[in-house]
């Protein structure tokens, strides 16, 4: 980066505001510090060209200076490996999207774990930007008995050092004051960073060790909790049992706690649609607003409670320090399928929705590990499949108890989930074994000390996830819904039509055209028609089926009358075939869109679409014919 560009401070262009970036190792409480500095006024966007989330928020220093605070992904080194870490490097070095490097760096450190961050800090000094070290979680360090000589540390490093407790919002003023002083007094040095080689890393470690020995005294009461908890949570057998129990609890919560909120949301959208119908003249506009926009957006927003509950658990476990343990426990199983232990979290997120799952793969270093994870993430049973599954299970699977305690319907649901997981692992195995061969990326992961999650921090992050989901619903799903509504309503039914209107529409025409292709897997033309709008989002197929079968979609409970009708109209084989179809079919344009964005090419979404479609067809074909042979036709 040329010096001329570096000297053009963003301060000039952005009305006197200063760009400040937070850098630190993973698990140092950087995000909590970011939340404490910026409050709820954060913006999340994507960096241009890359897909890593850019978290930015404003803050004001005691001196009245306005700051743009940037939260960068945690890293142990500027030598980036994952797309996440590459962003940290490029932002710090001013290589990204024409932005100059930040005016001031805040290096965030976990006060109880300084060794690695000191080495990172020595590396960051080569960037030549004014920098302040924030010793975060200082309360925990004090409680554990760490004695840190702040003046000496500051002198050795040649930087101001501030102690903070981000979750209690302590030390923020002092930190901002230092930013003020640095901005006013520190000249920018020369940017001389380059990738350190092994000898330089060893040398930096020795230097960091020397500083550590000179300034920090080991605690008299070390953290014994982490050791004791790990004894249980990482126990070869007990640890696995606990992990499964946590996952079970999570799914129970996602599916049962969310129900009242989901009922409320769908009732609200039904009410809104009815209000529009009651107060607007009937016609195209009324239909577009009530059936297209309101019903369409409602059908997606109804998943918000489930997504929030799932993220609540993920963030809670992450903040507690458990997620790294889960990756440790799952590494061998994931590794058997050729996936990285870190793929566990993206795949877990995919149970709510494949979109955050695909986005969460950014923490995976290796390109092929990441691609393999992206390709199988949509096979995880996302919550949009649930309405389809429940509709068909309720209509075709008897409510019986088998083996004395197992609910047969629940068992079928579990089987569908298991089929998704097993097929995802199998596909990953095939990809890594036959297509992207070679040794799996190293798995080297810090197991952070356990910490009590901070309620406010967890809440802020859950709300942020909700905001991202809502933004997506607005930008991707809304236009898609309008397209689907258009396809399903135009051209309109001719006068004296005997069939439901959708039958005459473009969706109906397409559905009839592809019906012969779907006949061998037991689908009738009504299903074919419903699958067209179901491309936008899986659950839309339920509403579309209701429309096709001319059942009023705005009835209080869509599922019951529709389910009864389906039970009369479809054979068991057809129903099972449709379930098999939904395990695999790429019935979600949003996911394909996100994969395109994440991989920066059309190649991967197209491959994903083709392979999932082929699997879906094969699975449905097999299911249908086996079921017919067994008398389910």
């Amino acid at each position: 980066m040329s010096a001329a560009l570096d000297l053009r401070p963003a301060a000039d262009t952005e009305a006197g505001s200063l760009r400040v970036a937070l850098v630190g190792t993973p698990n140092c409480g950087k995000t909590a510090l970011f939340n404490a500095l910026t409050g709820a006024r954060q913006k999340v966007a994507n960096y241009p060209g890359v897909t890593v989330e850019r978290k930015e928020g404003p803050a004001t220093t005691p001196g009245g200076r306005r700051l743009h605070v940037l939260d960068l992904p945690g890293t142990y080194s500027l030598r980036a490996r994952s797309p996440d870490e590459a962003v940290t490097r490029d932002v710090v070095l001013g290589r990204l999207g024409g932005e100059s490097s930040p005016d001031v760096l805040i290096c965030v450190a976990d006060s109880t774990n300084l060794r690695l961050v000191l080495r990172l800090l020595l590396e960051l000094k080569a960037v030549g930007r004014p920098m302040v070290l924030a010793l975060n979680m200082f309360d925990i360090a004090t409680r554990q008995g760490w004695a840190i000589d702040l003046d000496r540390l500051s002198g050795e490093l040649g930087l101001p050092v501030v102690t903070t407790v981000a979750v209690r919002r302590r030390g923020m003023d002092k930190l901002l004051e230092q930013v003020d002083i640095l901005a006013a007094t520190s000249p920018n040095g020369e940017q001389v960073w380059r990738e350190p080689n092994a000898a330089e890393l060893r040398h930096a470690h020795r230097e960091a060790d020397r500083i550590l020995k000179a300034c920090v005294k080991q605690p008299t009461l070390p953290d014994t909790w982490t050791g004791k908890l790990d004894g249980v949570l990482l126990h070869p057998v007990g640890g696995m049992v606990i992990l499964l129990a946590i996952l079970f609890l999570m799914f129970q919560a996602v599916f049962s706690w969310a129900v009242p909120a989901m009922d409320l949301i769908s009732a609200a959208f039904d009410g809104l649609a009815n209000l529009v119908k009651a107060n607007m003249p009937a016609g195209v506009i009324q239909g577009l607003i009530s059936d297209g926009v309101i019903a369409g957006v409602g059908s997606v927003l109804v998943f918000l409670p489930q997504i929030m509950i799932l993220f609540f658990f993920i963030i809670l476990l992450e903040d507690f320090g458990y997620m790294a343990r889960a990756a440790f426990l799952m590494d061998k199983i994931m590794g058997g399928a050729g996936l990285h232990g870190r793929a566990f979290i993206p795949l877990l997120s995919s149970f709510a929705c494949a979109i955050p799952g695909v986005m969460a793969t950014r923490v995976i270093d290796s390109k092929y590990d990441r691609l393999a994870t992206i390709m199988v993430a949509p096979l995880m049973t996302c919550s949009a499949r649930i309405p389809v599954y429940t509709l068909i299970i309720a209509a075709f699977v008897p409510r019986e108890t088998v083996y004395g305690f197992l609910n047969l319907q629940g068992l079928v649901m579990f089987g569908l989930y298991a089929a998704g997981v097993v097929s995802a692992l199998l596909i990953a195995f095939v990809l890594r074994r036959f297509i992207w061969r070679g040794a799996v990326e190293p798995f080297i992961m810090e197991l952070p000390a356990y910490k009590l999650p901070d309620a406010r921090n967890v809440l802020t992050n859950v709300l942020l996830r909700a905001k991202i989901f809502l933004g997506r619903a607005g930008s991707i799903i809304l236009p898609l819904m309008i397209v689907v509504w258009f396809l399903s309503n135009f051209p309109g039914a001719p006068a004296g039509a005997t069939q439901p209107a959708i039958d005459y529409s473009l969706a109906g025409i397409i559905g009839h055209a592809i019906a012969p292709v779907l006949a061998p897997i037991g689908f009738n033309w009504q299903i074919a028609v419903a699958l067209i709008p179901g491309m936008a989002a899986r659950e839309v197929a339920v509403g579309a089926l209701a429309t096709v079968y001319a059942v009023s979609a705005s009835a209080d409970d869509v599922a019951t009358p529709l389910g009864t009708l389906l039970a009369q109209q479809w054979s068991l084989a057809t129903a099972l075939s449709l379930l098999a179809w939904y395990i695999f079919a790429p019935q979600c344009l949003s996911t394909l869109g996100v994969v395109k964005r994440e991989t920066n090419s059309w190649k991967w979404p197209i491959i994903m679409f083709v392979y999932m479609m082929a699997l879906a067809y094969a699975a449905s074909f097999a299911t249908y014919h086996v079921a017919v042979a067994l008398g389910g036709g």
Partner: protein, 108 residues
């Protein structure tokens, strides 16, 4: 200024006592000091040997660091969780083999 000798030279001087073992071969409970970091057995990893060496160094596996194997996975005793000075790190035995450890003697 102290310039690092080549790691193998350092290892040679210490291996006169009890034999150094690759961390990846260590049993649960193994304690010792890291004497050498770097791929020596020529085994292929997902990344080039020099890159693996740097990643291990960045995570704090550096000559002189104290290690102890704390936990291991259920399948094939893999991966392992290691106490590394005052932090904890999880890694696979395959990668841990690039770290030579001088076990503590019985008296220590």
């Amino acid at each position: 200024m102290y310039l690092p000798k080549s790691p193998s030279a350092e290892a040679a001087t210490v291996t006169n006592g009890p034999a150094a073992v690759p961390l990846g071969h260590g049993k649960l409970g193994l304690r010792g000091v890291v004497v050498q970091v770097g791929v020596t057995d020529g085994r292929a990893h997902g990344v080039p040997a020099a890159e693996l060496e740097r990643r291990l160094l960045e995570m704090g596996f550096v000559e002189g660091a104290r290690v102890e194997i704390l936990h291991e996975g259920i399948i094939g005793h893999d991966p392992i969780a290691v106490r590394l000075d005052d932090m904890r790190v999880a890694l696979r035995r395959r990668e841990a083999d690039a770290i030579l450890v001088l076990p503590d003697g019985p008296g220590r």
